[in-house]
Amino acid sequence: MRVLILIPAFNEAAALPGLVAEIRSDAPVHDILVVDDGSDDETRALLPALGVRWIRLPERLGPGAAVRVGLRYARQRGFDAVVRLDGDGQHPARLLPALIEPLMNRRADVVIGSRFTHARRSPSTPRGRRVVQRCLGMVLTILTRGRVTDPTSGLWAFGPQALAVLAEHHPSGYPEPELRLFLSRNQLRAVEIPVTMRERPAGQTSLTARRTSAAMARLIIHLLVVPLRGAVRDRT
């Protein structure tokens, strides 16, 4: 199984070199693709020097679109699976085998790393945010009829089936909750595996107050609308 490690990055010049080095040492067999989502820091100058595959979006389209581009790239280049790691380095590369394993055994089409499968509350997550995440997790669990404990996790592995569909239909914006709904609507099997993530080691989160509220507003609409949409047809 050819696996591509996809790193969507917006202004992550501080974290990217360390992350790439970590993947190289922990999972040297996999190809790495960085999708630069229109960064305006040194990320742009850094990319060619990293020695990895890279795509630069000329404008910022948001993480969802950056992932979609990466999935399209993976399809074009004949990869069978894609693992998405956040560019800030909060996802340790040593988690990769555990994420890929359910895809290889065909137990799942999509694997999501969850911080909250067992722990009541992760110490690194602020309480207010955790409450919102838990409520959202419960709503998504009901709507998707699958267990959703970490609705905003950015650690994903996509198998061949999912890759084929999502290269065209991966949602835009901050896509994670909508993606859960989409997968369940399109009969793609998603499983969560327990993971421990790190504190963001360097750089700034792209989630400003404005983007968070916009994402929340979008999410409320998605919760209402995505279950009412039909499944996508072109499953080639």
Partner: protein, 132 residues
């Protein structure tokens, strides 16, 4: 015809001519002019046929018929705005798609150029994980 009616008819005709002129000069494409032409014609019809407007007003319980005309105008503006939002959304999707395609083409071109200079294996580690 009272003064209000004359003004309403004049404005409707001006709107219609204005829209057609924009289409003639290709500042407005036919598909987007449609909603405006429809709007202008409806306004024209309502301003000329006072009886029709009166009946609509009566039916809706509006005591001052020209207020019904205002209601119709507001409805049209609302419909037009929604249709523009649809257009903007579609264009946003098209622009996103173009940006994505540009980026993918750029990457492909760069990789082809790199490969032309050196075999791809020397640029990227291209190993695969065997199925277990």
């Amino acid at each position: 015809m009272d003064r209000l009616q004359v003004a309403a008819v004049a404005i409707s005709i001006a709107l219609l001519i204005g829209v057609l002129e924009l289409v003639r000069r290709k500042k407005l494409t036919e598909e987007y002019s449609f909603v405006w032409i429809l709007c202008a014609l409806a306004l024209l019809g309502l301003s000329m046929a006072r009886g029709l407007l009166d009946r609509i007003a009566l039916g809706l319980g509006i005591h001052y018929p020209p207020a019904a005309l205002l209601l119709v105008v507001i409805l049209f503006v609302f419909v037009a705005s929604v249709s523009f939002s649809v257009v903007i959304s579609r264009q946003r999707q098209q622009i996103d798609r173009l940006i994505e395609d540009t980026a993918l083409l750029d990457a492909r071109l760069r990789e082809l150029e790199d490969a032309a200079r050196a075999p791809e294996d020397e640029i990227y580690s291209k190993s695969t994980v065997e199925d277990r």
